[in-house]
Amino acid sequence: MPRTIWNGSLSFGLVNVPVSLTSAARDLDLHFRQLHKKDGAPIEQRRFCSKEDVEVEWEEVARGFEPDNGKQVVLTDLELASVQPRKTRTIEIEAFVDLEDVDPIYFDHPWFLLPFGESEGTRRAYQLLLKVMESTDRAALGRFVMRTKEYLVLVRPRDGLLSLTTMLFSDEVRPTDGIAPSARKPAKPKVDQAVAVIEALAVDWDPKRYKDCYRERLTRVVRDKKKGKTIKAPEEPKQPKPAPDLMEALEETLARMSDGKSKSKGKSKAAAAR
């Protein structure tokens, strides 16, 4: 059973549903430890005072903030805790929004909300909220505090459970100013050809098509090294030059694809399996 990070209640009008929070993403990365090359001993990070050059215990550490113009302000963890809003154990639903209006750019970390405790009433209230959101394609916006920080969250149904996503605030998403090229309509025949290429490479979304090749290669590197093999980094390939004629490149792509289709299962599948 996955680890519970937080428990409290989800409040919806005057209905309170006791819930627990568990991560909906797992970390499968290979984690390395820093070692001292000379003797292979693990390296420890220790804190030193930059003024006195003596080691400092964790209890002796406070938080310093430097305003743009002004003297450093020092806060202890206890003082910082005083800004915790009062309702620390409640996810308060403030509004319901249409899921399609929320761009995924705002999504931060995914979690599951599970009914907490054995009470039948809890499970029914949980089920009620789930059902009503499933039937309306709406998601609930709320706020809650976890580990001293307040989050804006979106609660929505996912596979028969309630999922919760912490969200970024609007000023944490940068404007696109200066990134888009000057607004000019691209030539229609080129777009038509590009659409044809996209349609030729169109598949349904199936996350199982894509393996984490990096994780696999890194696992292999570790295994080879353990066996005492030498590992050589591959050379970096050259940047491809954009085709002088985009239209020709797109037409050539389509021509090769229709050739390839008669001989094999198509390029796209082979690429995905790499």
């Binding site: 009008g13 005057l14 209905v15 309170n16 290979l30 430890r33 070692l35 001292h36 693990p42 390296i43 420890e44 804190r47 030193f48 005072c49 930059s50 003024k51 550490v61 903030f65 003297k71 302000v73 806060l75 003082e79 800004v83 915790q84 809003p85 319901f96 009470s119 009433g121 029914r124 089920q127 059902k131 009503v132 039937s135 505090v145 996503t165 609007s170 000023d171 696109t176 200066g178 990134i179 888009a180 000019r184 290429v197 996209i198 169109a202 598949v203 984490d212 090749c213 990096y214 290669r217 890194l218 050589k232 980094a233 970096e236 940047q239 985009l246 389509l254 694809m257 690429a271 995905a272």
Partner: protein
């Protein structure tokens, strides 16, 4: 003009789009330095060898992967880089999938894609993605690590999301959750439906401010003025309520 973090090429078929990447998001959480409480001096982190207790320069640091307790396979930095793959600076879009089919749970971090040199190929790809309602799936190597990415049209630009792999996403089936013996009743679902309706609003991200960030900045101001800061008491937990009565009260019916 924002600063780009990567220069490369997005390709689909034989068409190459020269691009630059920009961060699309930035955390605005108030960041503090660690300081020594007695003299307010900055804390420095030093790498110290756990065996001889001496400081270790960065050049003397290697990466160790623990294969069994206290047994490490040692990798040099360029050996770790060998796993990055040889794709270099090309993001090849291999598949195009309907935008609405991808659960946003797969999206991790977002970048904006800008164009480099000429813009026609960029405009063509953006327009074609928009017209088909599809996103391109490819792989992207960044800082010696390969990511699965989705490229889609967003407003006037292209956005690139790094993605989680399927085994990194927890499914509902992985969790053991008991269903209630008796589901909610029809009147309860109807009442809850009314409540959802009454709280329904159009999502506008500008409506939500990070009040916690503001409170922290306010606290800093008060401390700078020399105010005494006292921690607040946590609130006691609330009991689960009688569902029907709570729903009735929420939509303003009954007692």
């Amino acid at each position: 003009m924002p600063k780009s973090i990567w220069n490369g090429t997005i390709s689909f078929g034989l068409a190459h789009v020269p691009v630059k990447l920009y961060s699309a998001t930035e955390s605005k959480t108030v960041h503090f330095h660690e300081v020594h409480v007695s003299d307010g001096a900055r804390i420095e982190h030093k790498r110290v060898c756990s065996k001889d207790g001496r400081e270790v320069p960065f050049k003397q640091v290697v990466k160790g992967y623990e294969v069994s307790p206290d047994e490490y396979v040692v990798l040099e930095k360029d050996e770790v880089a060998a796993a990055a793959g040889a794709r270099g600076k090309v993001i090849e879009l291999e598949d195009f999938v309907p935008e609405g089919e991808i659960d946003p749970i797969f999206f991790e971090k977002t970048y904006y894609v800008g164009c480099r040199d000429e813009a026609e190929a960029y405009r063509v790809l953006r327009a074609a993605l928009e017209r088909t309602g599809r996103v391109g799936i490819g792989r992207f190597t960044f800082h010696n690590r390969e990511y699965l990415v989705a490229v889609r049209a967003l407003e006037g630009v292209l956005a690139l999301h790094t993605m989680r792999f399927h085994d990194e996403v927890v499914e509902a089936d992985d969790l053991d959750v008991d269903k209630p013996g008796k589901g909610p009743s029809k009147p309860e679902v109807e009442m809850a439906g009314q409540l959802v309706k009454s709280l329904h609003t159009k999502f506008d991200p500008d409506d939500y401010e990070d009040t916690y960030r503001e409170a922290v900045l306010d606290l800093i101001k008060r401390k700078a003025k020399g105010e005494d800061l006292t921690p607040a008491e946590p609130e006691p937990e609330e009991e689960p309520s009688d569902l029907t009565a709570a729903l009735q009260a929420s939509i303003g019916k009954g007692s």
